[in-house]
């Protein structure tokens, strides 16, 4: 899914880098509201968690396996701003320290797997929470929908970028159908994994899931005298 060097032309790469920089600047401000002074330490370890989570192979069949992309999961768990910061840092570290994803495609990768994935996931998650019954058990399904949508939108955005700055003439419809077809499958896998992960966390520490704040019943600590 990482776009390599030489896939999109230089002007497109620079333009996406500009978009990515603006979005990250916005997220740096927003994250302070989500995590206050804990931004750097917590966002750092959550970014590491996303990185490690991407290393877990989910076997599909016949020796093939897929892995989590994590954009939607991170958004639901820690909020969109912190989520975008974490995804950005993961993509930058993967590019600089692991040579995964081209250095000139850094902006493109941040836009596709960061900005587009996180914004879509956040909007779909909010919409799903409005439409679905307000219950704790509905957080994981809403997260799964957000995961499916975020993967599909990222793929569609890639096709759009490619039609502007791609270096090979591929008919737009062919590419769109192929990319969406493949990524709906990937998105379905992502949705299932996101569902299992979020449901698992909701069962143990629902207070850590930021997206669940609206549906969690806040219970005050009561001390009562019980009549003998």
């Amino acid at each position: 899914m990482h776009v390599p060097d030489g896939f999109l032309d230089a002007p497109t790469s620079l333009a996406t880098a500009g978009v990515a920089a603006a979005a990250v600047a916005l997220a740096l401000r927003g994250a302070r509201r989500e995590l206050d002074d804990r931004v750097a330490p917590l966002a750092g370890i959550i970014a590491t968690f996303v990185f490690a989570g991407q290393m877990i192979n989910f076997p599909v069949a016949g020796g093939t396996s897929g892995h989590l992309l994590g954009g939607a999961m991170t958004t639901v768990l820690v909020g969109p701003f912190t989520g975008l910061l974490c995804m950005t840092v993961v993509i930058v570290v993967q590019s600089l320290l692991f040579a995964d994803g081209g250095i000139t495609a850094l902006g493109t990768n941040v836009v596709l797997m960061g900005v587009v994935a996180v914004v879509t996931a956040h909007l779909v998650f909010l919409a799903a929470q409005v439409l679905l019954p307000k219950r704790v058990s509905m957080v994981a399904p809403a997260a799964a929908l957000a995961a499916l949508a975020s993967v599909a939108t990222s793929a569609a955005t890639f096709v759009l970028l490619y039609s502007v700055g791609g270096v090979v003439p591929i008919p737009f419809d062919t590419l769109l159908t192929a990319m969406l077809g493949v990524h709906l499958l990937i998105g379905a896998g992502e949705a299932v994994i996101t569902f299992v992960v979020v449901a698992g966390i909701m069962g143990v520490r629902p207070d850590l899931v930021r997206g669940a704040r609206g549906v969690l019943v806040s219970r005050e600590l009561e001390t009562r005298m019980v009549a003998a």
């Binding site: 370890i45 570290v93 090979v168 062919t174």
Partner: protein
């Protein structure tokens, strides 16, 4: 972090490339790759020059070619895509033995392979010759927002802690006779990811409290 150790790609050495300031190396990598990406494929001498520059830099760095070659596997998905390209691209067809493929597609696939290979090799060279802490300091000198560099700094420090935690969880699963073979095993793996999140979050909070109690001020410059 006790003894000096880099990340998994770091190759310890004292060559001129190792000693060059990190911010210059990052800027050079970005500049070099922008030039490579902007070069049309028809300028063959230019690509020969790029290859020569990379070869000289690799030789100068003292990083064994086999060390870099083994890590080039990260490029595999790009190569797969390049093989598919000539079939899906439009434009005039060209005979290639018994196969008929798109001519611009073939050219573009060649360009993609060459440019992506240069990109991976140049990035690997940066990763192999730069200590992560120097890299972060270099990014800060390149005016990357301090908060972003701080987050990266925490990530680099936590990287081994969290991946080790993941490894211990796998050992625990396997010692209970679990091995993931198909999607029926996803719930177990998914719950492992969930547990990893909770453990990571709690560790982050603990470390943050420990830092605050030792006088950490996020606004202060390090």
């Amino acid at each position: 972090m006790g003894a000096p150790h880099g990340h998994r790609l770091h190759f310890h050495g004292h060559s001129p490339i190792h000693r060059a300031p990190a911010h210059l190396k990052v800027a050079a990598l970005v500049g070099f790759m922008l030039v490579v990406v902007a070069t049309p494929l028809s300028w063959l001498p230019a690509f020969a020059t790029y290859a020569a520059v990379l070869a000289v830099l690799v030789a100068l760095s003292g990083v064994p070619a086999s060390y870099l070659a083994r890590r080039m596997v990260i490029e595999t998905p790009v190569l797969v895509f390049a093989v598919v390209l000539p079939w899906v691209a439009s434009g005039p067809r060209v005979e290639l033995g018994v196969l008929t493929v798109s001519e611009p597609g073939l050219a573009a696939a060649a360009a993609l392979v060459v440019k992506a290979t240069f990109g991976v090799l140049a990035s690997l060279l940066l990763a192999a010759t730069t200590d992560p802490r120097e890299l972060l300091a270099g990014l800060e000198r390149l005016r990357v927002p301090a908060q972003l560099v701080q987050i990266m700094g925490f990530m680099v420090r936590y990287l081994e802690v969290v991946t080790d935690e993941l490894g211990r969880m796998r050992t625990a699963r396997e010692s209970r006779g679990f091995s993931a073979r198909d999607p029926r095993h996803w719930p177990v793996l998914g719950r492992s990811v969930g547990a990893l999140f909770i453990r990571s979050f709690e560790r982050g909070e603990r470390v943050h409290l420990a830092m605050v109690s030792r006088g950490y001020d996020p606004g202060a410059r390090r």
